[in-house]
Symmetry: C2
């Protein structure tokens, strides 16, 4: 069974393997040799699709992480009309997904951010763009909630959106550091209690 000779597909496989490697070892810990092993490709193939290691790393951010975030968010914001509820449900879902992870590796986006944002400018620019996207989504949700009378009007949507995003990252990070994804339920629970205080009092 010869592996299909399809450029797009090959490129996608490389990206996927690279994403996995970065997720497990960080960008600096990712080895192209390992990617070749995982994809059963030769070096020439990889360097045909990507000029160098850095470009591959960038591509993972642009084509995998960004899309993943967008998909995630749009799913929940369309499922739950109340924006605060959408955010809370997203958190609970994350807690549930990672609950039984044997080896919890955290959030791919946050990991890369922590590792590379202050080291490499290219990564920083790309990752900041994603962060801005997320922040913009939460911000818009809060503002929309205010207009609909669902969210208190005495809060600053920009600041609160940033805080929620930061707490989310922190929670994932803490659970990762402690290697204890079962903490996520409690932590997101506490965060969700805080989010409840943003609702318009009944």
């Amino acid at each position: 069974m010869p592996i299909e000779r399809n450029a797009e597909h090959t490129r996608a496989r490389i990206l996927e393997a690279a994403q996995e490697e970065i997720y497990e070892n960080g960008y600096q810990g990712m080895r192209i040799e390992t990617i070749l092993q995982k994809t059963q490709l030769a070096k020439g193939a990889l360097y045909y699709h990507f000029p160098n290691k850095l470009a591959l790393g960038y591509a993972v951010v642009d084509e995998i992480l960004l899309e993943h975030v967008k998909a995630n968010w749009s799913e929940f914001s369309s499922k739950y009309p109340n924006p605060l509820t959408a955010i809370q449900q997203l958190f609970l879902w994350k807690a549930d997904v990672y609950k039984n992870e044997i080896h919890f590796k955290g959030c791919p986006l946050n990991n890369l951010n922590q590792e590379m944002a202050s080291i490499d400018k290219g990564f920083h620019e790309r990752l900041e763009k994603i962060m801005a996207t997320i922040h913009g989504s939460i911000f818009a949700a809060l503002e929309q909630g205010q207009q609909q009378g669902l969210v208190r009007k005495d809060i600053n949507p920009g600041k609160i959106a940033m805080f929620i995003m930061a707490s989310y990252q922190g929670i994932i990070g803490a659970a990762k550091c402690m290697q204890a994804p079962q903490l996520l339920a409690d932590l997101f629970g506490t965060l969700n209690e805080y989010i409840d205080t943003l609702r318009t009092p009944a």
Copy 2:
């Protein structure tokens, strides 16, 4: 002016240089060559004091980071008798310290945690120990506050302590990712508002 031949001092210089390197490039990005350059030592000196790179990394955690955290905390908890206020002041101080950083590199402890906790067991164990120390401090502060009637008695000190710690990390991380330490004031401000809700109502 011959550099003093003092084993303890030399070892300390190596550790300091290593800490800086890790802070700037992560453990995986730290290079022995750079440390030798910074300390003006030869390779033999470094490998006389440390058996290998990993041991050096571990030593940085045990002898630099842990001590730094302990010193930080004890300073503020002794300066402010109200535990909640001590925590809040510590945050505001951090925001102020980093405010004008040109190239904000985040929190050394959090950085290493994010990078190595899920990769290397030795790092994980050591870093978790520090996290547990911090958590224990906040936990004790909250419990003590409850006994003194300063902190609401309907909250779970363990969970809240974990949440505060996670949020702290997240805030530092977010500011790092955005390369915007001026965000810290707002973010810690929001966190402190949350902490205010933990006080016993007047």
